[in-house]
């Protein structure tokens, strides 16, 4: 019986070795069939095409957006008039709470309201649940990429999800925290209603604000110097009357090393005081400002808010791994070590490529002057590169640079928390612009164009001239790469060979695996498996040798005698 077993193992080993040894032809290239991928529509089908048009709602003029996923125009109307000055019909289209943005009192009599109250809540995105094995409410920064995040969100009404059946977040609950716009001289109240299970605060980085308010107390948002933590379920008013205009930054100052990275930071802009200056108080999701201020309209054709951020998946994963706030606090405050951290997700206005194509393109026409306000809320230096253009740096951190000393660049370095105001000039003179095209703009630290190391991803977007924009607001790719693959979660799960479709033969695709009995086993496993079989064989032989030593002895003797016999016969010859 053991003999049969031995033969079987022996033959198996021979077969496996034969497969490896056979090198006459290498395996064929195999391809992923697009039909096997979960490809999302490039533009969100839920968004009405009419949202892209130039329009007027509640007397608010809203500029055209050529993007595939434009902002809800009702959001813009509500942000300009205030939720207290619009019809219930418009308000119902926003999902905002009726007290989200309150505008009253024209204090200087110049035709616009000067008392502005903005109510912000704190919402968790892609958090865990004790009820089911999944995340809620979900917000994808790229196909299938759902980092746990916290955001300041405009005060909403109703559910956190689209509806009771869906786990997808209400569209107002998203990254980044909204862009806030106020006017010099406005009496601004930012009311923070802490709907989250952790303490938080707001620090108004760069915005003129008193250290302490006579009525509301601490106003700088720093627990160690200024005010107590704003606990869950509590509300705090931050009041200020800014005297200086500029692009600034607001963020949570509680455990800032984790809370800011989790998403609790946004752009706040103080606009110059002008008559009849009804500002778009919130630019939800950032990007194109469809109702720019009077001062911006004087000097520019367009304005864009560009908020760059980066996240470490080890940090963002904590709220997905634990439910108990005490465990999350322990993990974040005591165990997570930011000095050992690496950033994995890079976003522009809360999204990574290819979703940046949906709503963060800079769409231009020749001979335009465009204002770009850029914030880096990530933990490292950013090196923003504009293909085909040199833009001019006009402001650093909300302060105008000496006009005669302003410089032009094509790489803009932004330290963490830094803001730059850029003027992008689309005049085709070989310096400002090299002409019309679909020009990339991206972080030139190359990891910045990846999503967890998978390229193309990250905060990459494009400056697209009208002639290079399709009907639905997507850039016409002159190189012909099919964008669809990027809109599948499998791509970012590293399941799609990036170069499989570069040529028909798929010369740089993925080779098929070995066929036969060991197919589907990787080389390392196969080697150890073979080693194990050889070992087994050796063991069995030794066992047989000892157990049947009498038989073996006889066999050896017989062979020896045979040999001797043959030798003898040779001798005899």
């Amino acid at each position: 019986m053991p003999i049969h077993f031995l033969i079987a193992i022996l033959s198996f080993c021979c077969m496996s070795t034969a497969v490896i040894a056979q090198t006459a032809k290498l395996p064929e290239t195999v391809k992923v069939d697009p039909a096997a991928l979960n490809i999302e529509p490039i533009c969100d089908p839920k968004i009405a095409a009419s949202w892209r048009e130039a329009q007027e709602i509640e007397g608010v003029k809203i500029k055209e957006s050529r993007l595939c996923n434009p902002d809800n125009p009702a959001w813009i109307a509500a942000a300009v008039k205030g939720t207290n000055n619009i019809s219930m019909a418009t308000l119902m289209q926003t999902g905002l709470s009726p007290d989200a943005i309150i505008k009253t009192d024209d204090l200087d009599g110049d035709g616009d309201p000067d008392r502005i109250t903005i109510k912000l809540e704190i919402m968790e995105l892609n958090g865990s649940s004790r009820d089911f094995d999944g995340l809620v409410p979900t917000f994808d920064i790229a196909p299938g990429i759902q980092p746990g995040a916290w955001v300041f969100a405009p005060k909403t009404s109703g559910m956190s999800t689209e509806n009771f059946e869906s786990v997808r977040a209400n569209p107002l609950l998203r990254l980044p925290s909204p862009v806030i716009r106020v006017e010099v001289g406005d009496i601004v109240q930012i009311v923070l209603e802490n709907t989250h299970y952790f303490p938080h605060s707001i620090h108004l980085h760069g915005v003129d604000h008193p250290f302490s308010h006579h009525e509301y107390g601490g106003n700088d948002g720093v627990p160690q110097t200024n005010e107590m933590h704003l606990m869950p379920g509590e509300r705090r008013v931050y009041e200020f009357q800014p005297r200086h205009a500029g692009t600034m930054f607001y963020h949570c100052h509680v455990q800032t090393h984790t809370h800011l990275a989790m998403g609790l930071g946004g752009i706040i802009i103080v606009e110059e005081n002008r008559p009849n200056n009804w500002l778009q108080t919130l630019n939800i999701g950032g990007g194109q400002v469809r109702h720019p201020s009077v001062a911006i309209k004087e000097d520019f054709d367009q304005e864009y808010d560009l908020h760059y951020h980066a996240m470490d998946k080890e940090l963002t994963g904590i709220i997905q791994k634990y439910n108990d706030p005490r465990l999350i606090a322990h993990e974040m405050n005591q165990r997570y070590d930011i000095t050992d951290s690496t950033e994995d997700y890079f976003t522009l206005n809360g999204l990574s490529f290819p979703y940046t194509l949906r709503e963060s393109l800079i769409t231009v026409e020749p001979d335009q002057k465009i204002k770009l306000r850029v914030l880096n809320s990530g933990g490292e230096l950013l090196a923003l590169h504009t293909h085909g253009h040199h833009a001019t740096i006009t402001h650093y951190d909300g302060v105008e640079h000496n006009p005669i000393a302003q410089i032009m660049r094509d790489v803009f370095d932004l330290a963490p928390a830094q803001r730059l105001d850029l003027t992008l000039n689309t005049t085709n003179d070989g310096l400002h612009s090299y002409g019309e095209g679909n020009w990339l703009f991206h972080d030139h630290r190359e990891k910045g164009i990846t999503t967890d190391g998978m390229s193309e991803g990250g905060s990459m977007s494009a400056i697209v001239y009208k002639s290079y924009l399709t009907e639905i607001g997507l850039p016409k790719g002159s190189h012909g790469v099919d964008l669809n693959t990027y809109f599948s979660k499998e791509f970012y799960q590293r399941k799609v060979p990036v170069w499989q479709d570069l040529d028909k033969a798929g010369t740089l695709g993925t080779p098929a695996g070995q066929t036969g009995m060991t197919a589907g086993i990787d080389p390392a496993t196969r080697t150890s498996l073979l080693n194990f079989l050889y070992g087994l064989l050796l063991g069995i032989s030794i066992y047989l040798l000892i157990a049947k030593r009498q038989l073996a002895k006889q066999a050896v003797l017989r062979v020896v005698s045979l040999l001797k016999g043959s030798k003898g016969s040779i001798k005899n010859d």
């Binding site: 119902m92 999902g95 649940s129 109703g158 569209p171 209603e193 509590e234």
Partner: protein, 302 residues
Amino acid sequence: MIKYFSILLVGSLVIGPHAYATEPIKPVDHSGHTMQHDDGHDMVHGDDHMMDAPPSEHSKGHTTPEGHTSHQGDGHHHMDEDHIMDHEGGMIMGQNFDKLPTSCDSISEEIEITVRAGRKYAEKFPGTAFAFDNQEWRVKPCAKVTWHFINEDHVRHQFMMHGLPRYLYKYGMFHLEVTGPKTISGTIIMPGADETYLVHCDIAQHMENGMKAQLVVGKGGENLPSIPGLTPYAFTDIYKHVDLPQVSDKTDEDSIMKQVADLFDSNSLNSGMLIFGLLFGVLSVPLIRKLKPIRKSNNNNQ
């Protein structure tokens, strides 16, 4: 969200934005419904009415009774009879004073239940952040229940009930929402069957962190999971031993007793193994001794 309200919008367009902002509160007028009820059309009435833009005079009949909200002074915006919102976002949705569920012949009892919500009610449930003061309420089938929802926090909370019959309640929901500290009230009629309904706050992480309860009608149905202090969690964390500094650590840091104690404390697994090893050693010696004579006897047999 947008979709969620789009149907209501149709109604609100007809009614006009601030039509009721300054109107005095009128008593409830259910005449329209009573008529339809008598016709036996109440089953379809709910859905049809919600989908169509109601004629404005119809809507006028349905203002909220004074006693049901605590913040009447500044008036309400009326989307339609089914969705009432004040200027601070206080909201009543899916209210039902008079539409009898098909499973009921009559209203069995008329009761009022007060529900308090806030961070302070989570204190008795370690590992939660927000809670209601009660995690379970019991009513009779066909009960007419008026809920007084008192939010004691300074943020938004919701009292949201799910699983109600859709022919009476849009999306099968009854929803109270208010930013505290404030009270909001609403009335519903429970169906006749024994059933357990989910009650929660849908603000991100509120239900997940404690704001979950159930309403048991009659004998009730199956219990819902993850209700603090009431039912087991569907998913729970793993709690590992945490080594926190103790007062006793500080007092005699140099004593030998302290160091011995530390040796055992520092690694619970190792100290456990040490004891295990000790026990094993002590117990196994007599066992081995017992085995020896057997071996000897075996040897003798050979």
